[in-house]
C-alpha cells in the first residue's frame, strides 16, 4: 500500500527564517512523482513544487526547495526567507502514475510569525 506520512502536525517559524517540513512515503514502485501542495486559509490548493523520482537533482522553485532521498523514501520541503503569506497547511503527495492516483499526507500547519 502507498502511504504518505507527515509527522509534524504544526510548526512555527519567524518571518525571514528557514523552516523544513518533513515527509516520508512508502512504496514498492520505482517510478513516481512527489509533490508539495499549499492550502492557505482560503482553502485553495496550490502546487508548490514537484519532483520526479527518476531525477536525482533536487527540485527548487524560488524560496522553496526539496531534499529528495529516494533510498530513504524521504521528501522534505525547505522554505527559505519565510514570509507571512507562507502561512498555510502544507500537504505532501505521492503520485502513482500507473494508476492515476494521488496519495496525500495528513498535512503540516505552518504558522509564520512576524
Amino acid at each position: 500500500a502507498q502511504t504518505v506520512t507527515q509527522s509534524q502536525p504544526e510548526m512555527s517559524v519567524q518571518e525571514a527564517e528557514t523552516v523544513t517540513l518533513s515527509c516520508t512515503y512508502d512504496t514498492s514502485e520505482n517510478n513516481y512523482y512527489l509533490f508539495w501542495y499549499k492550502q492557505p486559509p482560503s482553502r485553495q490548493m496550490i502546487l508548490v513544487i514537484r519532483q520526479e523520482a527518476y531525477k536525482q537533482q533536487n527540485a527548487t522553485e524560488n524560496r522553496f526547495s526539496v531534499n529528495f532521498q529516494k533510498a530513504a523514501k524521504s521528501f522534505s520541503l525547505k522554505i527559505s526567507d519565510s514570509q507571512l503569506g507562507d502561512t498555510a497547511m502544507y500537504f505532501c503527495a505521492f503520485f502513482r502514475y500507473n494508476f492515476n492516483k494521488f496519495y496525500f499526507g495528513s498535512g503540516t500547519k505552518l504558522n509564520v510569525k512576524p
Partner: protein, 115 residues
C-alpha cells in the same frame, strides 16, 4: 487557460436529504477528474476518480456516488446524507497523455455541513 469550477461553494443540508455537487473544467479535453473530501484539520481523502465519460473508480465504500455525464463534468451525489458526510469537498483534474507533469489542479471546493 484551464479553469475548474465547483458549486455550490457552501451547502447546509439535513441528515437524510439528497446531495448533488457539481464540478466542471474548462479549457482542456479528456481530463482525469477526482473528488476528494477533507475533514476538519485532516488531509485529503480520495473518494472517486474518472479517466473518461462514464468511467468511475470508487476508492472508499460509502453512501456517496459519482458520475461523469460529459467529458468535463463530474458530479458527486448522495441519496441520503449522513452527519459524517460533513466536510470540505474538492474536485481536481489532471492531464491525460503526454506531455505530462502529473500535476493536479484543484477547484475552490464546497463546504458541506450536514445538520
Amino acid at each position: 487557460s484551464q479553469t475548474i469550477h465547483q458549486w455550490p461553494a457552501t451547502l447546509v443540508q439535513p441528515v437524510g436529504s439528497p446531495l448533488s455537487l457539481e464540478c466542471t473544467v474548462e479549457g482542456t479535453s479528456n481530463p482525469n477528474l477526482y473528488w476528494y473530501r477533507q475533514a476538519a484539520g485532516r488531509g485529503l481523502q480520495l473518494l472517486f476518480y474518472s479517466v473518461g465519460i462514464g468511467q468511475i473508480s470508487s476508492e472508499v465504500p460509502q453512501n456517496l456516488s459519482a458520475s461523469r455525464p460529459q467529458d468535463r463534468q463530474f458530479i458527486l451525489s448522495s441519496k441520503k446524507l449522513l452527519l459524517s458526510d460533513s466536510g470540505f469537498y474538492l474536485c481536481a483534474w489532471s492531464v491525460q497523455g503526454q506531455p505530462n507533469t502529473y500535476e493536479q489542479y484543484f477547484g475552490p471546493g464546497t463546504r458541506l455541513t450536514v445538520t
